[in-house]
C-alpha cells in the first residue's frame, strides 16, 4: 500500500516551553560541498548513518522511468574496491544492516550499525558515491529483481495500481507522472549508458547530505568524513530539466476496471510544493479530516453513514508542486458516489464555518505527539534532519516549525480549501469491480 510521504510526520507543535535544538547537534560543510549533520546520542551503542541524494524519479525522462530506483539497487552491486555484494557482506558480517528508498525528489540510503563500524561504513558510502563498476551481467541480474519488485509490490495489488494511475493522470507534463519503480516496459529496456549518465550527473558530494546520529563524537565524525568523502572532488551536477506542470483547467476522472470485490476511489488535488507557506494549513486540514477515529471523515463516512470501510489522506512530500490526496474504500460502487458527495460537503462546510479552536487544539496536540514519537529512534531523528535539509534548506527548522504550526489559523485553512480543493483542480480515479461492469452490460443487452 503506498503511504503518503506527508510532511505531517515532520511537522508538530511546540509545547508550552519552547524546544531548542539539542546541544549535541551540529553541522559542517566540506570544501567539496557535502553537508554533514551530526547528533551525539549515546542511549544505545549504535549509529544511524544516512545519505540523502537530491536526485529522484522526477529527474527521469519518459521512456527511462524507474532509472533512479534501479540505480538505488545498483549502488549495492559493487565497486572496484568492494566488488560483488561486498557492501552487504562487509556490513552484515560486522553487525550492520542497511536499506534504501527512492522517492520522486531524492534517494536515501540508510545504515543501522554498531558504533565500532562507523569508519568502515563511511568508507563504503564514500566509495560507492563515485566508484561503482556497473557491470553488464550484474545490471541484467538486478533488472530482474526490480521487475520482481514491481510485480510483487505494485502489479499484485489493485490499490497500488490505482495510486499509480492517479499520478499518471494528474500530471500530464511533469515527471511526477512517472511511477517511481518505473513502467514495466521501461524496466525491460534500460541501457547501461543511461545508467552511467544518471550516476555521473547526479551522484556527487555537492548534491548530497550526510546525517549521522548516535553513539559518536562530532570530532571523530569530522575526521572520518574528511578522510573518506573529503577526498571526492566536487562535480558539475547535470540533470534532465523538469517540465513544469501546466495548471489543471478542469476535473479529470478515470475508471480502473479490475477483478476485485472492493470498489475504491482515489483523489488528488494540485497544491504547492512542500516548502510553500501554505503547506502547514494543508497539513492541519488533513489532520482534521483523516487522523484518528474522531476525525471528520472517519466519523462521518465510516461510523455514521457506514458508507466507507477505510478512508485516508494527506499532503504528499514534494520539491515541486504536489498533491493533496484522499482515498476511500467502500462496500459497493454506489456508496463511492455518495462518499464523494459527502467529502465535498464537508470541505464546503469547513470553508464556510472554519475550524473551532478546540478542534484546532486537538489537531495540534496530535501533531506534537507525533513529533516526539518520530524522535524516539536514531533513525527517526536522522530522517527528520535530512528531509528538512532537503526540502527547506535548513535542518534546524525542525525546531522552529512548532511556532509556525501554532500560528496556523482557521482562516488559513479556509483559504487553502478555497484555492486548491476545488473540483476543477482535481483528478479522481475509481477502482471498478469487473463484475459490476458485467451486470451493467447484461442489463443493457437485455433492454435493447
Amino acid at each position: 500500500m503506498p503511504i503518503f510521504h506527508s510532511v505531517l510526520l515532520f511537522l508538530f507543535c511546540l509545547p508550552l516551553v519552547a524546544t531548542a535544538a539539542p546541544l549535541q547537534l551540529r553541522d559542517f560543510t566540506l570544501a567539496n560541498g557535502l553537508k554533514v549533520i551530526v547528533e551525539e546520542d549515546h542511549s544505545i551503542p549504535s549509529v544511524s548513518l544516512q545519505v540523502f541524494y537530491q536526485v529522484g524519479s522526477r529527474r527521469e525522462l519518459s521512456g527511462q522511468t524507474g532509472l533512479a530506483h534501479f540505480f538505488e539497487h545498483m549502488m549495492f552491486r559493487g565497486t572496484k574496491k568492494y566488488p560483488g555484494n561486498q557492501f552487504d557482506t562487509v556490513m552484515e558480517e560486522a553487525g550492520g544492516r542497511n536499506n534504501a528508498y527512492t522517492h520522486r525528489d531524492m534517494t536515501v540510503y540508510l545504515n543501522w550499525i554498531p558504533s565500532a563500524l562507523l569508519g568502515r561504513v563511511m568508507e563504503l558510502e564514500a566509495d560507492r558515491m563515485v566508484n561503482l563498476t556497473l557491470e553488464k551481467d550484474v545490471f541484467e541480474a538486478e533488472r530482474l529483481v526490480v521487475a520482481a519488485e514491481r510485480r510483487s509490490n505494485v502489479d499484485s495489488d489493485n490499490n497500488s495500481l490505482l495510486y499509480e494511475q492517479l499520478w499518471a493522470n494528474a500530471y500530464v507534463a511533469h515527471p511526477y507522472q512517472h511511477p517511481v519503480v518505473g513502467w514495466s516496459f521501461d524496466i525491460d529496456h534500460w541501457t547501461l549508458d543511461q545508467l552511467r549518465q544518471f550516476y555521473h550527473g547526479g551522484y556527487a558530494p555537492n548534491n548530497a547530505v550526510l546525517v549521522v546520529v548516535g553513539d559518536v563524537t562530532t570530532t571523530k565524525v569530522r575526521e572520518m568524513v574528511t578522510q573518506t568523502f573529503g577526498r571526492i572532488p566536487k562535480r558539475d551536477i547535470v540533470l534532465n530539466h523538469i517540465t513544469p506542470e501546466p495548471d489543471q483547467q478542469g476535473e479529470r476522472r478515470f475508471e480502473f476496471i479490475r477483478e476485485t470485490q472492493t470498489p475504491s476511489m482515489i483523489v488528488g488535488y494540485h497544491v504547492p510544493e512542500t516548502k510553500s507557506k501554505e503547506t502547514l494549513a494543508l497539513e492541519v486540514l488533513a489532520e482534521v479530516l483523516f487522523t484518528g477515529e474522531s476525525s471528520r471523515l472517519y466519523r462521518k463516512l465510516i461510523r455514521e453513514a457506514e458508507l466507507a470501510t477505510e478512508v485516508s489522506g494527506g499532503v504528499v512530500l514534494g520539491a515541486d508542486p504536489t498533491l493533496f490526496m484522499m482515498s476511500a474504500s467502500a462496500h459497493d460502487i454506489t456508496a463511492l458516489k455518495k462518499i464523494e458527495v459527502m467529502i465535498d460537503k464537508e470541505l464546503q462546510s469547513i470553508a464556510q464555518e472554519g475550524i473551532a479552536s478546540e478542534e484546532l487544539r486537538k489537531v495540534k496536540n496530535g501533531l506534537l505527539a507525533e513529533f516526539y514519537r518520530g524522535q524516539e529512534t536514531l533513525e527517526g531523528k536522522g530522517q527528520l534532519y535530512g528531509l528538512y535539509e532537503l526540502y527547506f534548506g535548513d535542518y534546524r527548522r525542525v525546531f522552529s516549525t512548532p511556532d509556525e504550526y501554532e500560528a496556523v489559523t482557521s482562516e488559513q485553512v479556509i483559504e487553502v480549501i478555497e484555492k486548491y480543493l476545488k473540483q476543477d483542480n482535481r483528478t479522481v480515479g475509481i477502482l471498478v469491480p469487473e463484475s459490476t461492469r458485467a451486470i451493467k452490460s447484461d442489463k443493457s443487452s437485455k433492454e435493447s
Binding site: P45, E92, E93, Y101, I113, E293, G366, L368
Partner: protein, 470 residues
C-alpha cells in the same frame, strides 16, 4: 525500496526474546532497570523510567489469545480487544476516541494465539486524563451491539479487500494448512463465516472470563518517576476489584509434525506474481534449542546476506525478497520460509528453496556463516530496545512467557556458546525438504500444470471462498 521487511511484527517479537549480547560488552545489562509491583487489586505492574522525551508507552497484556475463541466463532478475542474501547457506562465510543485524540494519544490493540493486548502512547503531561480513561475502559466496557455490528462489517470488508492483495494472506493459508484441526490452525482474526456468528454475549463472556486484574499485566515505560506513576495507577484502578476465576491457560496439545509433503494452490486468476510459503512444525517457546536455531535461521534466511536470499535474489533475480523464521508459542509453532516469484518461475523458486533446506539439513552451516550470523544478531540487537513502546511490549511479553531479566542475562552466554556442532545437529533435526507443506497463491491455470510435473499431492482452492480452510 530495496528490501522488503523480512519478519512480521509477531515473529520479530519472538526474535526480541532471543537477544544475545553486543560484541563489545559495553553494557552488561540488556535492558535498563525496572521495577515490578502489584496493585492492591492484584494487577502486576512493571515500571521503567525513560526520560529523554516527554512521552509514555503503556502496554496491557491479557493472558488470553485467539486459541480461546469458541469453536466456529473465531475472532472473538480480537473483537473483544477492539470493543473494550468502544463504550462504557460513562462514555460512548465517540466520546472515548475524541478524548484520546484530543490529547494526541495513540491507541492500538493486538491479538496473538496465546495473549492479546492494548498499547497506549501519550504525552507525560496528559497522564491523569489518559490513565483514568484507560482504567474506565478496561474495567467497564459495555460492548454496545451497534459497535459490534460496525466492527464486524468493517472486518469482513477488510478480509474481502485483503483477497485483492495476496501477499498478506499466505500466512493465514499456511497456518490453516499446516495445523489443520489443531488450535493453531484457526484464524486469529476470524474469517467471513466465523465473524458473522459473533454476538454480544460472546464478547461479554470472553471479557468476564479473562479480563480481571490478576490476569492482566501492565507495563509502562517513559517520562515519569516510578513511585509517582505507581500511585497514579493505584488511584485509577483501585475500584476494579473483580476476582475472576483462577485462569487456567488452555491446554493446547502438541501439533503433529508433517508426515509427507503436500501443496495447497490457491487460485488468484490475474495474479502476475505467485506468493508462496514453505512450512513445517518448529519449536515451542521454552525449547532449549531456540538459541542455536536463532543463529542458524539468521544464516538461512534472517538477513539480506542469508543463504536463501543469495540463491533466490542475489544470484538469480527470481524474487524481490525471501525470509525465514521460527514462531514459537506454548506449543511448537511453525517454521516458515516466505517468498514470491513470477508465475513462470515459481516451480524453480520452490525447488531452490527446498534444495537450500536440504543443503542445510545435510551439511549444516560453515564457521564463516556461524560467525556472520552471530555478529549480525549482536550488532542489531540494541535497536530492539530503543523506543518506549518496544520496551513496554517486551517487558509484558517476557512476563507472559515466564522470563525475567536475569534469565536474559544467562541467555547471552548460551547464545555465544552455540557451536558449529550444535548448528549441524539442529539443522539436521529441524530442516527438511520433504516433510513440509507448501502454499502457493497465484494464477492456477498456469501454475497447476507446472506444479504437477514435480509434485503429486496438490489441493486446489479459489481465493474468493470464505476462510482459509477447505
Amino acid at each position: 525500496m530495496r528490501k522488503a521487511p523480512v519478519f512480521s511484527f509477531l515473529s520479530l517479537l519472538f526474535l526480541l526474546l532471543m537477544v544475545p549480547s553486543p560484541i563489545k560488552a559495553q553494557q552488561t545489562k540488556i535492558i535498563g532497570e525496572y521495577s515490578k509491583r502489584v496493585l492492591s487489586n492484584g494487577m502486576t505492574v512493571y515500571l521503567m523510567e525513560q526520560r529523554e522525551l516527554p512521552i509514555v508507552s503503556l502496554n496491557v497484556l491479557v493472558a488470553a489469545g485467539s486459541v480461546l475463541d469458541p469453536q466456529g466463532r473465531e475472532g472473538v478475542a480480537s473483537v473483544t480487544t477492539e470493543l473494550v474501547w468502544r463504550g462504557t457506562k460513562v462514555n460512548d465510543a465517540e466520546d472515548i476516541s475524541y478524548q484520546f485524540d484530543s490529547v494526541g494519544a495513540s491507541l492500538n490493540q493486538f491479538v496473538d494465539l496465546e495473549f492479546s493486548g492494548h498499547t497506549v502512547q501519550f504525552l507525560s503531561k496528559d497522564r491523569e486524563h489518559v490513565l483514568a480513561l484507560v482504567a474506565e475502559c478496561l474495567s467497564g466496557p459495555t460492548f454496545p451491539k451497534k459497535e459490534l455490528a460496525l466492527s464486524l462489517k468493517q472486518r469482513i470488508a477488510s478480509l474481502i479487500r485483503e483477497k485483492d492483495d495476496p501477499s498478506q494472506l499466505v500466512d493465514e493459508y499456511l497456518y490453516a494448512f499446516l495445523f489443520q484441526n489443531h488450535a493453531y490452525g484457526r484464524p486469529s482474526e476470524g474469517d467471513e463465516r466465523s465473524l458473522e456468528r459473533i454476538g454480544q454475549s460472546d464478547l461479554v463472556r470472553f471479557y468476564q472470563d479473562h479480563y480481571f486484574p490478576k490476569n492482566l499485566t501492565l507495563s509502562i515505560v517513559g517520562d515519569f518517576e516510578s513511585n509517582d506513576m505507581f500511585e497514579a495507577l493505584e488511584k485509577v484502578f483501585a475500584l476494579w476489584r473483580t476476582e475472576g476465576h483462577s485462569n487456567k491457560r488452555k491446554i493446547v496439545e502438541t501439533p503433529h509434525p508433517v508426515e509427507k509433503m503436500k501443496l495447497l494452490l490457491v487460485n488468484k486468476k490475474d495474479a502476475p506474481e505467485a506468493f508462496f510459503m514453505v512450512g513445517s512444525v518448529g519449536i515451542s517457546f521454552s525449547n532449549p534449542d531456540r538459541f542455536g536455531l536463532e543463529v542458524v535461521n539468521t544464516a538461512l534466511g534472517g538477513k539480506f546476506t542469508s543463504a536463501l536470499n543469495k540463491v533466490l535474489r542475489v544470484d538469480s533475480g527470481l524474487t524481490y525478497g525471501v525470509g525465514s523464521a521460527f514462531r514459537r508459542y506454548q506449543q511448537p509453532g511453525p517454521f516458515l520460509v516466505s517468498s514470491s516469484a513470477k508465475t513462470e518461475s515459481t516451480v524453480k523458486a520452490l525447488q531452490l528453496t527446498l534444495e537450500t533446506l536440504k543443503k542445510f539439513r545435510e551439511q549444516g552451516i560453515s564457521t564463516d556463516q556461524l560467525r556472520g550470523a552471530k555478529a549480525y544478531l549482536m550488532g542489531q540487537y540494541p535497536l530492539r530496545f530503543e523506543t518506549t513502546d518496544q520496551l513496554a511490549q517486551v517487558i509484558a511479553t517476557l512476563h507472559f512467557y515466564g522470563v525475567s531479566p536475569s534469565d536474559l542475562n544467562t541467555y547471552l552466554g548460551r547464545f555465544q556458546g552455540v557451536s558449529i556442532e550444535d548448528t549441524r545437529r539442529l539443522a539436521a533435526q529441524y530442516f527438511s525438504e520433504e516433510r513440509v507443506v507448501i502454499v502457493v497463491i497465484g494464477n492456477a491455470d498456469q501454475l497447476k500444470p507446472a506444479l504437477e510435473e514435480v509434485w503429486s499431492d496438490i489441493e486446489l482452492r479459489e481465493i474468493n471462498l470464505p476462510g482459509y480452510n477447505p
